[in-house]
């Protein structure tokens, strides 16, 4: 038996899971129209690769990844792309984002499905396949799963996250109950790709059926995986905390689990991996819980892009429902409208009414009771973070480890003053990020400005020098002319034209020289590695600027010509 560990804090809100686990997962019917956002994962949004009016097949690529952290987007069913434009999506900002609109033809016709035998695949090939298949973490962070296989450090433990700690959500629970065998196969693929020995499947002990289903599947598969019941406590499903509970290892602040040799995947992600590898199915659907203030709370397997309104209608919302929450009540976001589309991150939608989730009473000032600190799983001092955030003292907030906050909301849950703590933290975090961005822009601008001034100064000097030279030459010429009787002096304009020509060449030369000089900073002995790294970073930036400036300089030259003309 494995020894379990504990983490500080945590809360025990009422779970409300029983309501939506009474009936099996139901396939949602094909909606009349699908809206597929191109940004459904962490990192860069995907780039559309289809045209409006184009017919697409189910599983066909419609958006391809851009850059390192990105993923693919696929058509959830066969049909016609009718628009690629800005549409409202499930985001707290209520701002629109780029989406494809797909009108299904009702055939649900699959495109090419490339199945693979994972044992023959290298980790690298598997990564490529997952990226092509649009597999992202379905535990909430939607981080591209292929990236999580790309790790420099040996990973010796694979943790599978079946905790599902948030109230109301049951999609993972139902998935484990009904498709345990497929999940185990997915886990085996991930294990193979990571090359780990130990696999720990952590499931909260309030899901006995899921635990036994998973145990049975593991036993049947005869893989040496361990299914472990972990104590029910929110946020026990947070990757770092689950790892702490299962292995006793604390992932250091600001580091990734892989840095301590552990990797963590959600059960639904494992299932999606299984479908992608062994059935060739790209990620076009997911299981989502519809619960809360509805007549028939249950789980649906629904296509990505399905309007939430369709799903909710299936479960029949009660009359007093007045808003909808995507995700759980602790970390979810309120939907700006009920017809926004289901995305890969949507594990749950809760119909809410004021009776179910009473609006919080007016916030009172913080009385420093530290109930928040007692429940914070990261052992932060939420009351201090709040104090700094509300007074815009961001430096101090950062000093007090604001960025270690996982926004779990446990603090706000217990706060007797009903302060929207998490919102303060999010506010402070976005401000700090924006400021960092501005700071970088300012540094860049300074360098560009300084470089420009340097260039102008140098050009002025050179011009002056040449003028002096010319005068000297003229004097010499005059003397010579006087000596050799009256020969007309050369015309000024001519000299000038020559001069500008010369000047350009000189400038280019000087620029090259200067670049050579700055590219190798002096004074580099006896530096710490950090300083070296910093210098290197600066060099990279500088080189970039110079190349830009050089371009601009090239553009600069014509004007001189025009003056000369």
């Amino acid at each position: 038996m494995i020894r379990l560990h504990r983490f500080h804090g945590g809360i025990h809100p009422p779970t409300h899971k029983a309501e939506s686990t009474r009936t099996p997962i139901m396939s949602a019917p094909l909606p009349a129209q699908l809206t597929i956002p191109f940004r459904q994962h962490a990192g860069e949004a995907a780039k559309p690769v289809v045209q409006v009016g184009e017919r697409v097949l189910k599983g066909q690529l419609i958006g391809e990844p851009v850059g390192a952290i990105s993923s693919s987007i696929h058509a959830p069913t066969s049909g016609t792309i009718t628009a690629i434009d800005l549409q409202q999506i499930a985001h707290p900002s209520a701002l629109p984002d780029l989406c494809a609109t797909l009108v299904p033809d009702g055939l649900d016709e699959w495109g090419v499905r490339q199945t693979l035998s994972y044992r023959q695949l290298s980790s690298d090939e598997l990564q490529k396949h997952l990226r092509r298949s649009g597999i992202v973490g379905l535990g909430g962070a939607v981080f591209p799963s292929d990236m999580k296989l790309r790790h420099p450090i040996v990973v010796d433990t694979l943790v599978i996250n079946g905790a599902e700690c948030e109230p109301y959500i049951t999609c993972d629970d139902m998935l484990m109950r009904e498709r345990a065998e497929a999940i185990v196969r997915g886990i085996e693929i991930l294990r193979h790709a990571l090359g780990t020995d130990a696999v720990l499947i952590g499931i909260e002990d309030n899901k006995p059926q899921a635990i036994s289903a998973m145990q049975r599947a593991v036993d049947d598969s005869s893989h040496p995986f361990k299914v472990i019941a972990v104590p029910t406590v929110y946020p026990g499903g947070s990757a770092k905390h689950l790892i702490k509970v299962l292995t006793g290892v604390e992932v250091p602040s600001g580091k990734l689990p892989t840095d301590v040799g552990v990797q963590c995947y959600n059960v639904a992600t494992a299932y999606a991996v299984h479908r992608a590898v062994e059935h060739g199915e790209t990620l076009v659907s997911r299981v989502v819980t519809v619960t809360g203030n509805v007549e028939q709370p249950r789980n649906y397997e629904a296509l990505i892009g399905t309007p939430f309104s369709d799903l909710v209608a299936l479960s029949i919302p009660k009359a007093d429902t007045n808003r909808y929450i995507m995700g759980g009540p602790m970390m979810g976001v309120e939907l700006p409208a009920v017809n926004v589309p289901l995305v890969k991150a949507s594990n749950c939608v809760i119909a809410a009414s004021d009776a179910l989730f009473p609006p919080p009473p007016a916030a009172m000032p913080c009385i420093r009771c530290t109930r928040c600190a007692q429940v914070c799983p990261v052992e932060l001092q939420p009351q201090d973070l709040y104090w700094f955030a509300q007074s815009h003292n961001f430096g101090k907030a950062q000093e007090y480890d604001l960025f270690d906050c996982i926004e779990c909301g446990a603090c706000a849950y217990v706060c007797p003053s009903s302060i929207p703590l998490v919102q303060y933290y999010r506010y402070a975090k976005s401000e700090i990020r924006a400021r960092d961005h501005e700071k970088r822009a300012a540094d860049l601008a300074r360098e560009r400005h300084e470089f420009r001034q340097f260039r102008i100064e140098r050009e002025k000097q050179e011009k002056a020098e040449r003028l002096a030279q010319k005068e000297r030459a003229a004097a010499a010429a005059k003397a010579a002319a006087e000596a050799a009787a009256a020969i007309p002096t050369p015309l000024e304009p001519n000299a000038d034209a020559e001069d500008t020509q010369q000047m350009r060449i000189d400038a280019a030369l000087a620029r090259a020289k200067e670049q050579a000089a700055t590219a190798h900073p002096r004074n580099t002995e006896a530096l710490t590695p950090e300083q070296r790294a910093e210098i290197e970073a600066i060099e990279v930036r500088r080189a970039h600027i110079h190349s830009l400036a050089a371009d601009a300089g090239a553009d600069d030259e014509p004007p001189k010509n025009s003056q000369g003309n």
Partner: protein, 191 residues
Amino acid sequence: MTDYLLILIGTVFVNNIVMVKILGLCPFMGVSKKLETSLSMGAATTFVLTIASGSSYLVNHYLLGPDLAYLTTLSFIVVIAATVQFTEMVVKKTSPVLYQVLGIYLPLITTNCAVLGIPLLNVQAKHNFIESLLFGFGGAVGFTLVMVLFAGMRERLEGADVPVIFRGTAIAMVTAGLMSLAFMGFSGLVK
């Protein structure tokens, strides 16, 4: 030995130079906005004050004597001013940031009443050399202590919903008042 300890405790807490003797208030109010600044200012003052009380004892005892008592203030202040100016030059050279942060207050250490007040009180209390030094050092430590505590509170107050007309110096004054109220609790501890 216990006498010396009592002098130290007495000057730091019971007869705290700022809160009870009401000396040295301008830097106390001026340089206490940030914890770090107040610590540095405290250190600079401690340095100057200890030297000032030692050297003024020497001046008073060996140079002036009872006949020239009327020169006390003049000679003390010249010695102190020179000490401060010297410290200023050294700080400016060695730590420009500290110099900037201490700003106008560094030359104003000269006019920190405590720096003259303590030597004068030393003369009044007929302290010997060691006692004078301890008195100066203790006074400065007391000064640093309250300034650091005060700075801590002011930093925290930054986030408070203080009525507009009280923001800044007014609430700082009130806080200083409540601090001196608290320091009255020490009264009688060392007679």
